[in-house]
Symmetry: C2
Subunit: 125 residues, 2 copies
């Protein structure tokens, strides 16, 4: 059974994120072939066009390369992968800091908040 999608955010974006994370975590290595548009569509239980759009987004950021008739492949350029990793990380941190600042938290409070959360995270499940 396919992993479910959050209905309030576009499926193609969620697919992008999942694939990006797989690449970042190393589950998909450099030069490795992604599932075909149709296969991933079946596996994810979505329309092939939705997968295609996700692949298109990934191609636009150069994380993957497509070869017509052959498939879609993770880039072999390590600089691009490194850049994506860094951007992704900064983007998440940035968002977090912005949100916390808008709530009025100081930088110290953000750090302590995160620390406390990680120590006591059993309570938040």
């Amino acid at each position: 059974m396919a992993q479910p999608f959050n209905p309030s955010v576009p499926i193609y974006q969620q697919l992008c994120e999942r694939i990006k994370n797989k690449i970042i975590r190393g589950e998909l290595g450099m030069g490795e072939r992604l599932p075909s548009v149709r296969d991933l569509a079946i596996e994810s239980e979505v329309n092939p066009n939705t997968v295609q759009r996700a692949y298109k987004e990934l191609e636009d950021t150069q994380i993957v390369e497509k070869k017509r008739g052959q498939g879609t492949f993770v880039t072999e350029n390590p600089a691009i992968l490194q850049k994506m990793r860094e951007e992704q990380k900064i983007s998440h941190i940035n968002r977090f800091v912005t949100e916390m600042r808008e709530m009025g938290y100081s930088e110290k409070e953000m750090l302590h908040g995160l620390q406390d959360y990680l120590e006591k995270k059993e309570d938040n499940k």
Copy 2:
């Protein structure tokens, strides 16, 4: 000139967030009156219905109370405000931790990542 909205997320949701944060930061105190639906609509340059929807959302979470013919007011129940503050904080931390975990970061790396970011944040502007 009104503060612009991010076109990729619903305006009413952004209004909710802005108002919530104002309350959390204390810019809007307990029992204080919010601008009328029509006034905020003009000020924000959106349709009154959009503001009404935002106020409705806030009322559903009991952060504000509406008095027909009089206006919309911040709740005077401190427990509700405290709960909102806490939930908002947890929700932001939760999201951050989840995203970072999906990228493969350990808890230590999350903390250090945040720390580094805050120390060098001049570079990220």
